[in-house]
Symmetry: C2
């Protein structure tokens, strides 16, 4: 005898497939939805359906967008000569929030990670090289803004090497490392502090 209605068990399974949601949370969420008005649940289902049908990858920058090219790539006020290379679409939001970057993006959708069988061909790296060759307005600077971990570093090294081979004059920059704003020196790790010292600037 199964104790839970099948519809409930199936929804719990669907929730469990999401990252960071275990059996307990999945059960809690499914039971919560039982008490929610039907139209709100319908809207949730509709939004899930629309996720795939109403979004596309921008053919230029590979960002998730409503139209192709995306609103950033098609914005004439943005500087097309600078391209910031990032791992995930969410990183676009983070950088846009600073309001300090007016160039274009290139989303890799991951990083090179040999331990998990992700090589250069599994992410949108080749598209970046192609873009460098074919974009109407020549690209002058590439900012590498990968995450500061092993995979990010490996990806940055690979991209740099390939880009240099393709165009020796291209300016390739990386985000600065150093103390986060508001951080205590006492609690900073040695590597961060070393980078902060190396990257010190005149006051």
């Amino acid at each position: 005898m199964t104790l839970l209605p099948k519809a409930l068990t199936r929804l719990i399974e669907s929730f469990q497939q999401l990252p960071g949601i275990g059996p307990k949370s999945a059960t809690r969420l499914a039971f919560y939805l039982l008490h929610v008005p039907t139209d709100q649940v319908e809207r949730f289902a509709e939004n899930l359906r629309a996720l795939k049908s109403s979004t596309v990858l921008c053919s230029l920058c590979k960002n998730v967008a409503e139209a192709d090219p995306c609103s950033i790539c098609s914005d004439p006020s943005r500087d097309q000569t600078i391209v910031c290379v990032i791992e995930n679409p969410t990183d676009v939001l983070s950088i846009e929030k600073t309001g300090k970057f007016r160039g274009l993006y290139h989303v890799l959708h991951g990083a090179i990670d040999p331990l998990n069988n992700i090589g250069p061909d599994e992410i949108y790296i080749a598209d970046l090289f192609k873009r460098l060759r074919t974009q109407d307005v020549g690209i002058k600077e590439i900012i590498l803004a990968m995450n500061s971990n092993m995979e990010g570093e490996a990806t940055a090294m690979y991209v740099t090497k390939q880009l240099k081979a393709q165009n020796a004059k291209l300016k390739i920059t990386r985000l600065a490392h150093g103390l986060p704003v508001g951080a205590d020196i006492e609690y900073a790790d040695e590597v961060t502090l070393t980078r902060a010292l190396e990257g010190r600037r005149e006051y």
Copy 2:
């Protein structure tokens, strides 16, 4: 200019309406689903839709079920003279897992909580009293298995008072309080320890 496609924003909003999921988690989940095969997302949407259309409340015990009466209420092998009163449908699962209870349930779907404007009329308490009067097989014992917090205690007190007024001979019991199995006495709070002492049994 909105940065995210509308379909994505809407799904993030839907996730945010779930308990314990804030803007960051909601964004992470929505972006995760972008990389998931379409048929899995479709199945998720379908499961959400089916949640409301394929489940009913059992008219007898008010538990969430596939059919009315539910599989527990319609099981002839269960003892219909004992009814365990609980706050939430998930509590049925917890008690069934012990394998020690062979009676029926009554799900209140909440507890009396005046601070949040939940009185006896907002939960299925009246149905319990009606059930006591009308059930074919007379109920001999009511086990109050509400949560051990203020709202649970208030609900238990209210139900006890009303039941006593309706049927003075009815046996009303509560779950035992005491040390959780595996717990250190050192770390037990005073109230739990007091209850454990009061409820001590001969060895």
